[in-house]
Subunit: 201 residues, 2 copies
């Protein structure tokens, strides 16, 4: 997830999400701080952890050089040996956004805190086109259709669940042809986890 302009950290107050009487009330909040100074040097190492139960608040997190952004790989292929699914916890401060991108797998988002916008282009034209702007909010969930170009922005904390074999293609803008979108591999948080390339003999 590439950042937009520098932004303040995500909101710091827990908030209660309302719900109808007699139904579940989901109350979720996350306090984020800017994180660039938290784990000096940690960005250069893969945060491998094979323990069965992990305290999420103690897991490796980083802003990967983007102010107002934070990422934790809660369950990952390279860091934790997952073979089928991955789970990330991310914070986007105000003004932060993902790049415009599509991917070859399903993703499910759960917004724990904040609100923002899902911008959703078309996967059936030759380029994404003018995107729909769809509000998302605390305690909402959404799933982006496979291969539909999209961008998630603004001020949110969310969990992202995905198939681990997922290729991600990034666009410069909404008029860039699908075939020109660039494969982003590995993700920023996996760069230090890849095995060293073997010598070519």
């Amino acid at each position: 997830m590439e950042g937009g302009p520098p932004a303040a950290a995500a909101a710091r107050e827990p908030h209660v999400a309302g719900a109808g009487a007699g139904r579940f009330l989901l109350l979720a909040a996350l306090i984020a701080t800017t994180t660039s100074a938290i784990l000096p040097g940690a960005k250069s190492a893969c945060p491998r952890d094979n323990s069965l139960v992990k305290d999420i608040s103690q897991m490796h997190q980083s802003n990967y050089g983007r102010e107002g952004f934070s990422h934790i790989t809660v369950a990952g292929a390279l860091a934790h040996g997952m073979k089928e699914v991955e789970l990330w916890l991310q914070t986007f401060g105000p003004g932060q956004r993902t790049p415009i991108h599509r991917h070859s797998c399903e993703e499910v988002f759960v917004v724990l805190k904040g609100k923002g916008t899902l911008l959703l282009g078309s996967g059936s034209l030759k380029y994404p086109g003018e995107p729909q702007a769809i509000p998302v909010f605390q305690n909402s969930t959404f799933s982006v259709p496979v291969n539909d170009p999209h961008q998630v922005n603004e001020n949110m904390v969310f969990l992202i669940f995905k198939n681990f074999e997922c290729c991600r293609f990034v666009y410069d803008d909404w008029s860039m042809p699908h075939v020109a979108a660039k494969l982003k591999f590995p993700y920023f948080w996996d760069e230090d986890c890849l095995p060293a390339p073997k010598d070519e003999l």
Copy 2:
């Protein structure tokens, strides 16, 4: 998830999970009520919903006849057309527990509230054997290894994320041979979502 003895609803107060200074603080809570009288008749219908963004607090939930239990399919194959992954939100009141079971896929748990125990048997013996008892707690995450028999119990609210093509086998007890465990299909919450069988001709 089959229930244990009747139990009170999950705890009703939001709670703050502590974390180290300068780190993420994940604050998550869920207010549960017993749900048997909430949606009369709703258990007999598949809660299909194709809207792109869903308010989790308004989604169909039920205790499926088990006091102190609640299930919401946040993203499901049969209810929402997911093809790769599924996401459930479940509450187990005090004393509630899953059956002893194993499955053919990875599952990732995120405990939003409460605490409990993961009982984990062996998938490499001929039967599960005496399980390890592993504490799990609010703001923790764990992934059960594929095909390891396990049981999750006690007083928790959690998200479960899994591959959607997942077969689940249920044991009577920890000494039951793996080959005798029974396939549970469909899950309780999917029973009303299956298409009617076609005539055999």
